[in-house]
Symmetry: C2
Subunit: 260 residues, 2 copies
DNA sequence: ACTCAATGTTCGCAATGCGAACAAATGAGG
DNA sequence: CCTCATTTGTTCGCATTGCGAACATTGAGT
């Protein structure tokens, strides 16, 4: 992700604090494949100088957002305050969680809620009774929107101009041989989602995984969140998803509609 | 939390980037009770000037971490990348989640894992089959360590000097009439936790809530994480917790010990 | 042991971010 | 409805903060 982490300098904009941008880039340099980094590593990943990377890392350490063992830096749990600032401020996850737990308990499958962020979806709440997907899909996890039921359920209800802009810029990368990669076919799938009011994605994100999702329309008429249920493709048919799962999701969506 | 959000200026430290500190303070100004803030609100909460608050908020908006409706700022899901940088980098939640799900499914109760951050515990993974606690205890939520089983299970296994330092500075605030607020009694409770290898907290955090937790010792001999099970106090006795729940938690802890 | 590339650190300096002063908006009181 | 005080938002001269080139240190390879 070198491209994502590079500095987008807003030259001449006196309202822009470049130091904050760099600091946030430094935080985002850490991930599952890079849990511990030297200051040179961070410099390379972010495009800032080693001297600057050093200052930001020492600052994060001094503020207890990171720790240092003499050579490597790693993040600390305090960083979660930043993400939590969003989750607690929207109360979305708190409001949605009981619905997901009821749906999950009633169906015996995993249920999640996500919001759109750029071209990805981000999980904001989750209830799982069985582990059927790849590990690590907790709150904060993100997946490309185009090949997830959650993503399609949200995208299909965006204003036309926003959807067209998305379609222009998105690269429909194949995650399995079944992933839709043709933009015309993708647009048809989104139109069908819009017409029927829910999305089903079968093995386009991951082998053996089938998901159904519905959008949640907020009071202001916008759709920024969706709810899903996921199951093993071989064990639950699409008909069963429509017959058993969809009513539960729609019911939850309808109730949430008046809460958000 | 005005005290928590004030600037701790490290005067003369040329390795410290004060702008990053302020930027992070601005993010943390948002929470459940303050989801939308004006720039004056943020200035008041953080102690920085209105001009500075304005620049940081405009910067966060430009970077898509916040949005602006002409008067109020609010955070966006992109902020979750920051918290996720920690969760994904430690893989703790990913490794722990399957254990919590199995424990939760087998007992029919909610199970969580948390780490210590300052004097609080922060939830890093959770599996709930039934909603028995106050809403909003998702990943990233934090609670005072002293009146939670998870907190006691971690605190009891800290080096003596660190525990004594914690005991010196902590204010044992009562959350219910049953909360231990006497430091001597608290120390006894922690000694008992250390001796028996698990903590039980009964209605000290919240009415009707009883939790049992065990520490997870990592390969390096340190304890930074704990696992729990929670149940309604009237429905599950302490004996049942020790008899049914403790073996499951210990088993999970033992297995995790060789993974972390 | 030596060489050299990679990594970490320092400090002179100028660009960035600061905040006092000003502008605009808001609301209370008459 | 008007006035005025207070609150909130914005600008731009300036000094401090953060920059990065140059230097110091470390470690790998021969």
């Amino acid at each position: 992700m070198p491209n994502e982490l590079t500095i987008d300098q807003s030259s001449g904009d006196r309202d822009f604090v470049a130091s904050l941008e760099k600091g946030l880039l430094v935080i985002e340099a850490f991930d599952a494949s890079r849990p511990r980094l030297t200051l040179s590593d961070v410099a390379k990943l972010t495009g800032i100088t080693r001297a600057a990377a050093r200052r930001y890392l020492l600052t994060l350490t001094k503020l207890n957002y990171a720790e240092f063992d003499g050579r490597y830096f790693s993040l600390t749990p305090r960083i979660l305050r930043l993400g939590y600032a969003y989750l607690s401020s929207t109360s979305l996850s708190a409001q949605v969680q009981p619905f997901l737990e009821r749906i999950s308990e009633e169906t015996g499958e995993s249920s999640s809620a996500a919001v759109l962020d750029g071209d990805d979806i981000v999980y904001i709440a989750r209830s799982a009774t069985r582990r059927i997907m790849s590990i690590g899909l907790g709150v904060g996890s993100r997946l490309p929107a185009h090949c997830t039921a959650l993503g399609r359920a949200i995208l299909a209800f965006q204003p036309e101009d926003e959807f067209q802009a998305y379609l222009q810029r998105v690269r429909l990368e194949a995650r399995t041989p079944k992933t839709i990669t043709d933009k015309s076919a993708f647009q048809h799938a989104l139109e069908a989602t819009c017409a029927q009011g829910y999305a089903i994605v079968n093995e386009e994100l991951e082998y053996g995984l089938c998901s159904i999702a519905v959008p949640v329309m907020q009071k202001n008429g916008k759709v920024t969140i969706a709810l899903n249920l996921s199951a093993q493709a071989g064990r639950v048919s699409a008909e069963e998803m429509e017959g058993r799962f969809l009513p539960l999701l729609k019911s939850a969506s309808e109730t949430l509609r008046y809460m958000l």
